[in-house]
């Protein structure tokens, strides 16, 4: 069982390594989106500092969402999703493996680069730590939620855009508590409450999402 999980994670990571550009690109996308906002809003540092948590979280949301296409759509198109479903292991396990790989490729790098971007926006040090923690709790949640959307839109042509419609509303709580935590911390307040809600959501997601994703996949493949 654990072995299948390992194989799935390994497979998806290897795939990501083959297109090494991909990992870097998700990261760059995040950086670019974060840089676009100041270009749109203007260079006033005070204003930017206020907007920073929102910008960073929206960037993380979008980066995570953009890479959802890779989760099942390609496997569906080339027929390997069928083979995954036919693997002699519970589908939930396969799903967990894929979500873990997705997070490692498109979530973790964001967490790691976020301090640099926080510097660009001149966030105070405590806010930076909170940001790191919040992203660490929030990005896996994004991958989990995203997987449900990705599974539902498998095989639906033009699913790439449809996915955003399904997934973004579900992302909203993550955004609110994530940005809220950083915001609070930037204003010198306690961010623990927000963070523990994020943690609770993550637990909930870990229990429910793989199961929902597996069900969605079965339906999509019919």
């Amino acid at each position: 069982m654990m072995q299948t999980l390992r194989y799935v994670v390994f497979r998806d990571l290897l795939l990501a390594m083959r297109r090494r550009a991909d990992v870097a690109t998700t990261l760059f996308f995040f950086v670019i989106v974060a840089s676009l906002f100041p270009l749109g809003v203007g260079p006033d540092p005070k204003l930017l500092r206020v907007m920073a948590p929102g910008i960073l979280w929206v960037g993380a949301l979008l980066a995570s969402m953009l890479s959802l296409g890779r989760l099942f759509a390609e496997d569906y198109a080339d027929g390997s999703l069928e083979q995954l479903v036919l693997a002699p292991e519970p589908l939930t396990l396969v799903v967990i493996g894929k979500v873990v790989a997705h997070w490692l490729v498109s979530g973790l790098p964001l967490v790691l680069i976020s301090p640099v971007i926080a510097l660009q926006f001149d966030l105070p040090r405590e806010a930076m730590v909170t940001l790191l923690l919040a992203l660490l709790l929030g990005t896996p949640l994004l991958s989990l939620i995203g997987a449900i959307g990705a599974a539902l839109t498998v095989g639906v042509r033009g699913g790439g855009v449809l996915i955003s419609l399904l997934v973004l509303p579900l992302y909203v709580p993550v955004l609110i508590f994530g940005a809220g935590a950083v915001d609070a911390s930037a204003m010198g307040m306690e961010a623990g409450g927000h963070l523990s809600i994020l943690g609770a959501l993550l637990l909930l997601g870990m229990v429910l999402a793989p199961w929902a994703t597996a069900a969605a996949l079965r339906i999509s493949l019919e």
Partner: protein, 245 residues
Amino acid sequence: MKLNWFKYAAPATFYPLAGKLIPWFALAAAGLTVAGLYLSFFVAPTDFQQGESYRIIFIHVPAAWMSMFIYIVMAGWAAAGLIFNTRLSSMMASALAPTGALFTFIALWTGALWGKPTWGAWWVWDARLTSELILLFLYMGFMALHAAIDDPRRADRASAVLALVGVVNVPIIYFSVKWWNTLHQGASVSMTMAPKMAATMLLGMLVMALACWMYSIAAALARVRCIILEREQQAEWIANLGEPA
């Protein structure tokens, strides 16, 4: 089967030539760096406004210049490769990109380190800074596209199109960012230096810039030699090259 061997001829003759040139450029780079560093740290006087922090200028400005020059040169090679279908030109373009990106990063890094003591912030959304950041993105795009396409010939031509589109855009980006920045109330600090740059400072900067030039040429030549070897493994002249040194 008759192949268009003349297309391959250029790399074949260029390869040994580059090999001979590299040591000279490397030597020049090393010499000029020593001279430049001496000028920057031991001859140039302390700036009365910024103190010693201004000494970052001797690396910052040459790096910033290089980042822009190299992009233009790279696009030129890419265009030549696209138009005349010469393999060597495209190889030169892809050999220049990493060095250009490196200097862009150095300009950003040193600028950030300079900004902290002078403006009190690592980063401000100033026109120059922002356009330099975008230049880095353009380099990254070029390299990522090149890496993402497996067939080297196709990769060359696709990234050449991108480089050309970028070259049309770089001035537009530069001026748009500049205008964007001045229309707003503006950042609280601007990049004005001490009134008159001392002659020694200017000299130091120029020598360092020259050193960067030499280094870039040497690095690009060394890289293009690797690329030639990688891509033309099958060609007969490579087999006849003899033992590597």
